[in-house]
């Protein structure tokens, strides 16, 4: 369930970074980290809205996750991947890729698999796309966080050089 968010052509950022020379990449990375943090927090918040059911009575229909499955999702850490630099770009991803394993009903399952079944649905699980919903809700706030973090660093550097 990769969610791609691309911030480019942001005039505020390019204006702020153009005079930073070799430090521009480090400043941009710090900004990206702050933006990714906003996204990760929103995913954690949306995970709390997952609906559950204790029992399932329908034989052929789709079910909701159990409270135990929701508890696994809520306890799982949302990770920010190591930053990849490609020319003038700095990229990262936010998600559950390395969330590990959990024991459910006596079976050990990869946590990303449990989360994917809830987020994307299956033929037997009703989908609740909380990661896509978080990405939509966090897009503007994470963009603001990136700009604020870069602005703060640029201001700090300008203060120390004057």
């Amino acid at each position: 369930m990769p969610i791609t968010m691309q911030y480019d052509g942001m005039k505020e950022i390019s204006d702020m970074l153009k005079d930073m020379g070799g430090k521009a990449e480090a400043i941009a990375s710090k900004g990206l980290y702050e933006g990714a943090g906003v996204m990760a927090n929103e995913i954690k918040k949306q995970a709390g809205t997952i609906r559950t059911e204790d029992f399932h009575y329908t034989v052929f229909g789709t079910r909701l996750p159990s409270p135990e499955e929701k508890a696994v999702v809520e306890a799982a850490g949302v990770g920010i991947a190591k930053f990849a630099k490609n020319g003038s770009e700095v990229n990262t991803s936010v998600g559950y890729r390395n969330a590990g394993y959990a024991a459910l009903a006596g079976k050990t399952k990869p946590i990303p698999q449990i989360i994917n079944a809830i987020n994307s649905g299956t033929s037997f699980m009703k989908k609740q796309p909380f990661v896509r919903q978080a990405a939509a809700a966090a897009k503007a706030p994470s963009e603001s966080a990136i700009i604020s973090a870069i602005q703060a660093q640029v201001d700090e550097m300008n203060k120390t050089t004057t």
Binding site: F60, G61, N116, S120, T122, S123, F124, R132, A136
Partner: protein
Amino acid sequence: MPKEYEALVAALKLTSVPFAEYGWKTRPEGAYGVVSLEFEAGTLSGGDAKADRAWEGSVDLFYPKLSDRTDLIDEIEETLAEICGDAWELNSTQYETASGLFHVEWAFQCLDEPEADADADHDAV
């Protein structure tokens, strides 16, 4: 309900895959699809009102035979392109060992444009 979404549901129901909105009470034999409108993804506001509301939803295709893949996927992607322009993407593909079904999921966005308000010029007090 966005008109674009209603058009998408109608168009998907004309494809060779049986489609239902929000899920099936009884899982059909063979390939089947589900289309859902899920949440508000972004809004342009102005004049104390929501001017344009973007909604996000998804299309799910479940099919049992790998040989069905190309035709069914092409048919659904052509329908998405026809109704949603380029505001859709392939979100995930997976194989369910428990049911033996392949699952392909697309996310799409559609716009809910407000109807023109005939009294708009007379609201001010």
